[in-house]
Symmetry: C2
Subunit: 354 residues, 2 copies
Amino acid sequence: MWCGAFPYANLEIFLAVIINLDQERSRPPEAALDHLTSMVSADLTQVNEIILQRMESQVGLIPQLAGHIIAAGGKRLRPLLTLASARLCGYEGRQHLGLAASVEFIHTATLLHDDVVDDSGLRRGRAAANTLWGNKASVLVGDFLFSRAFQLMVASESMKVLDILSSASAVIAEGEVQQLLITNDPETSEAAYLDVVRAKTAKLFSAACRIGAVVAKRPEKEEEALESFGLNLGIAFQLVDDMLDYLAPSDTLGKTAGDDFREGKMTLPVILAYYRGSKTERQFWRRTLEDMEQKPSDLEKAVACMKRHSALDDTVERARHYAALACGALAVFPRGEMKEALLGVADFCVERAY
Amino acid sequence: MWCGAFPYANLEIFLAVIINLDQERSRPPEAALDHLTSMVSADLTQVNEIILQRMESQVGLIPQLAGHIIAAGGKRLRPLLTLASARLCGYEGRQHLGLAASVEFIHTATLLHDDVVDDSGLRRGRAAANTLWGNKASVLVGDFLFSRAFQLMVASESMKVLDILSSASAVIAEGEVQQLLITNDPETSEAAYLDVVRAKTAKLFSAACRIGAVVAKRPEKEEEALESFGLNLGIAFQLVDDMLDYLAPSDTLGKTAGDDFREGKMTLPVILAYYRGSKTERQFWRRTLEDMEQKPSDLEKAVACMKRHSALDDTVERARHYAALACGALAVFPRGEMKEALLGVADFCVERAY
């Protein structure tokens, strides 16, 4: 675990001021997520049952492959947000359960499709579904889960929910295509990268939160507050994810450090290091990420270069900004245990960087 | 064009008896499709406008790639069925236009995802989108179109339509996965193959037709009749498609003969030839389709083997059976120009074999 030069103590004060957080702060970051999970555990159990039930198919490969990735997912962060948002809005019905499962299915379908590779030999170091069953099976099972997601939305009988989630799906796909287009381009701007993050990641977070207010039939203002919370939380989450891709040891997060580097993905740590880099450093980035000529020692060099220019610290700094915006968005809701728990998740999204 | 030993004259009498068809029969098969197209041409123009409008995106690659495949599609058979079904039911509104576009988007997304290949070197002879832009772009643009399809359904504000089309999407995905599982397996039964055809192809035809009755708010009986018409028409269409894959010259249908063979796909002509084949012939099929060891002369040998066992004739014979069932299903509707036009399309699906 990397415990570098981040101002951990300052973060405490910073978040405490912004979100007036009075809960205990000395626990590990995962504790915030565990706390939220425990608050909606009865709901989550039912969501997991719906997930298991709806990924069934007479075609055995579907539950087999889907089970592999859904089990690997673990955290269930997105459906948790739907459950918690609905409860924050005082919802006492059951409509949010199927929708939380729907959100998880959209996420899983996206993961499966994101793992598809072209036969240019780029697939390295991943134990993704496509390495076990092939690209095509991954794509088609993703389609199945995506269809199941829509069936679950239809079962909710809310046109508003259908509108929000189908629009989100289109935006996610646009974001994924845009990400593909900026791959291998070290000249990508921070703004272009943030647009991709908003679309491919944060849009689903924001939709997952907003539909909690929709099922509870809360006023537009609360819908918008939850949407903004989700959007900013999603950006913070993705920024830290992109940072961890350069620093996480392979036994955390179920991912191997260096995946993004090996795929030539443009993420904020790279963008900052490239723009702040010397001529020689820029040549290094172009060789490794544009020309995709990578040597075994290059990942280590990349990280050193990032550290030299505070690219990793500043990526987390940006994440902290968005987490603060997320917390601020919840101001319309009165204080209470569920609100505190959601604020804790915003905290978790940044703190897991340490 | 192959003009073999099919009892063309008998087909005339056969269909004439079953469907009491009194229209001119001497015209080429495409004429029936052209006739239907001309009957709904004003609607179709609007559907094409919706398609163009809804495949737009700020991400330029999306309309570029989607346009490539949507323009290549040409016939617009599935949206035509929605338009014609709605009109057959006396519908005079506009809801069917967006839904017809939605059906075409689902079809296009399926095509894009069906073209994804694994990096096992199987991609030969295809000018598919993935050869131009890669697997990943094809998958993601497919996702975008799929999302757009759902947005168009949501815009129809009909929960019943959403239910029908989202369920159809799940079944299509199941069919595609099942097709993947029977690939390279010469022991595949005709029943297993037909299950795949019903799911991957016929389900969308049946949904496309059924929603025509739904928007027109016609009784369940008419919905079911149109669903049955579409289902059987879809099976007939796919059977002939699978036959043509062994016999069509490369300048028809926008496809190259032999694609299925080169991919080791199990289709009815192969299944019949395998089961009726000698020990030596079965060894040939196992070498070429199971072990995927193919020589340049093997496609010709495969066709000769099929002809020896009437596998191609009998595939069309099966198609004729399903086309007759399709026509029979329309019995609940009174005679009229639109009904005759739809019967003509059933005719087209078989006659295009010649």
